[in-house]
């Protein structure tokens, strides 16, 4: 049985006087113990909301979460606030995007690590400090004893993210959700953080849900990839087939818009046309249709169903034929 089974997860935001907004629309995926699963898409595709819904961190009011999130046999969405607090930080860890704003600016790093150890592992402050030092050591923070007494603003960006990873892994969670953990960091630091995360999840046997818009991160880390668009999974495949043969025009476009070192000089990038704002509702067809180079008449009339195509799930009326080069050139 999978460690985490997300089924038909739907999140609807409702503000007074506004139309309800389906940020996540029937998302399903599994995470096996020790596996790394990627959720990929542009901003606004629902990937962060998915992670917050799993963690039970969405606001109580204004957000309706339906579906099931079965973790280790229990549906997290049915747990009480207190039961969720017991799971968060101990069995479910989370790493966030911006390490500076994600750390409390007015208390020392040490306390921010020890408080989670005190809460879930019942350690006294002194023992927790020793453990915190070991944790900072493990995530590669030099001179941990000094860093424990320092405040977030005294650490570099990479070190802050290492501290956040130490906090998330402090109680050896079985599942770690990382929401764009490298987006706010320098490129050189990004690689360090990713290899650190890879190493740690392998050592601890932690399952990892990696949320990113960066296909480079996916290529280096994920076993399975879910490509999200407009709150729905449009393509789900293992890493190798996905990169070798992207079938959904959106996935194809994402891959084609990455600058390539082997491109001829002067060759233009091929971005995806338009923005997420051009979406049509899934109820009227394919949300991606207005931006899709492969769009047919049927795409704006019939919502494409999820189809299993040789072990890959695809939601598209007119998928990309394998071997097609990057979509037609669009002037930037």
């Amino acid at each position: 049985m999978a460690l985490l089974e997300v089924r038909d997860l739907t999140v609807v935001f409702q503000r007074r006087g506004e139309e309800p907004f389906r940020a996540v629309d029937g998302v399903s995926f599994d995470v096996e113990p020790g596996q790394t699963v990627g959720l990929v898409g542009e901003s606004g595709c629902g990937k962060s909301v998915t992670s917050l819904a799993i963690m039970g961190l969405l606001p109580k009011r204004g957000a309706t979460v339906t579906g099931t999130v079965t973790y280790d046999g229990t549906d997290l969405l049915k747990l009480s606030d207190k039961q969720m607090r017991d799971k968060r930080g101990s069995e479910l860890g989370m790493v966030f995007q911006d390490p500076l704003s994600s750390l409390n600016p007015v208390i020392p790093i040490g306390l921010q690590v020890t408080e989670v150890l005190e809460r879930h592992r019942g350690l006294a402050r002194k023992e927790a400090m020793i453990e915190a030092k070991n944790l900072l050591d493990k995530v590669g923070i030099p001179d941990p004893n000094r860093r424990l007494k320092e405040y977030p603003h005294q650490l570099s960006g990479g070190m802050r993210q290492r501290a956040l990873i130490a906090i998330a892994l402090a109680c050896r969670p079985k599942l770690l959700i990382a929401d764009e953990p490298t987006t706010a960091l320098d490129v050189t630091i990004q690689a360090q953080i990713l290899s650190l995360m890879k190493e740690l999840v392998q050592d601890l046997g932690t399952a990892l849900v990696m949320i990113t818009h960066d296909l480079g991160v996916v290529a280096g880390l994920c076993d399975e990839v879910n490509v999200l668009y407009g709150g729905k999974v449009v393509e789900k495949a293992n890493r190798h087939p996905l990169f070798a043969e992207p079938r959904h025009p959106y996935t194809h476009g994402l891959l084609a818009s990455i600058p390539r070192l082997d491109a001829a000089p002067g060759e233009k990038l091929t971005p995806i046309r338009g923005s997420v704002a051009d979406n049509i509702p899934w109820t009227q067809g394919c949300a991606f249709a207005p931006r899709c180079p492969n769009a047919l008449d049927v795409c704006v009339q019939v919502t494409p169903a999820e189809e299993d195509q040789l072990g890959r799930l695809l939601r598209c009326h007119n998928p990309v034929v394998p071997g097609t080069p990057a979509a037609e050139e669009v002037p930037v």
Partner: protein, 334 residues
Amino acid sequence: MLRYTIRRLVQLVGVVLVLSLLLFAWMRLLPGGPVSALLGERATPESREALTKQLGLDQPIIVQYFKFLGRAASGDFGVSTGVQPGDSALDIFVQRFPATIELSFFAILLAILVGVPLGYLAAKRRGGWFDNLSVIGSLIGVAVPVFFLAYVLKDAASAALGLPSFGRQGDINATRVTGFFTLDGILTGEFDATLDALKHLILPAIALATIPFAVIFRITRAAVLDVLDEDFVRTAESKGLTASVIRRRHVMRNSMLPVVTTIGLQTGALLSGAVLTEKVFVIPGVGQALAIGFERRDYPVLLLLIIMATIVYVVVNLLVDLSYALIDPRIRTR
């Protein structure tokens, strides 16, 4: 930190000197004067002239000012002409200061103890009925004049609640040690005197606390609303910490800077409020002396009391600035 404190204290000396000169000049520009106040409308020109000379008011203002400075340096701030004629201004200050500090202290304490938790709760329940109700309540708190509320409390609430409708007077036969009624009772073991003093303080403190309460409430609410949206609060939630740890360690610690600033600024409002409150509740404090002093143009007493109030205000705000460093480590290292 020490250098900063010293620099601020040196600034304070400058503030006091400039303020004393301005006050000195302004008070003498007011119509009337201590002579008319003391002798009345029908005094003969000769007697007026004699008293003017006796009080030294016939000399140029600048000469008067430097004479005042010279005597003030040796602790002589002049003799009262109106509040308690014949008493030294310094004695009046020493007698009356504890009552006002006591009243202001309990008022601001009340404002903080009610305003901060209420502000937190309102922010936490943003948009709910509790939030809306307390925002309206705080608006009323700011809008109702202190003297009106003071009379309502004095005349209606005191009877209904069985509380004294006047402040503790100086002549009550309890042992005086510090001049603070509540403190003296504890120091001498006369706890009933402390209890009695507290009973006398409740209604005036409520009257005086309304405006600071409303302001502290609003600022706390706004500050907590800002902090609740911060990423680090979400991080704290993702750690599964208990609600009370998140509230204390993560939300409130980070909301305190604007609240503490407001508390410092409200000490100024307290003093102007104390003038009215002490008058209504007949409390023999600095505020009452200021009110009487203005009516009777008691230059020495007014000057000393206003300068002392300024010093208290500046020192409180210095303490507030120093507390920033305790609250926020980013200020410490700057």
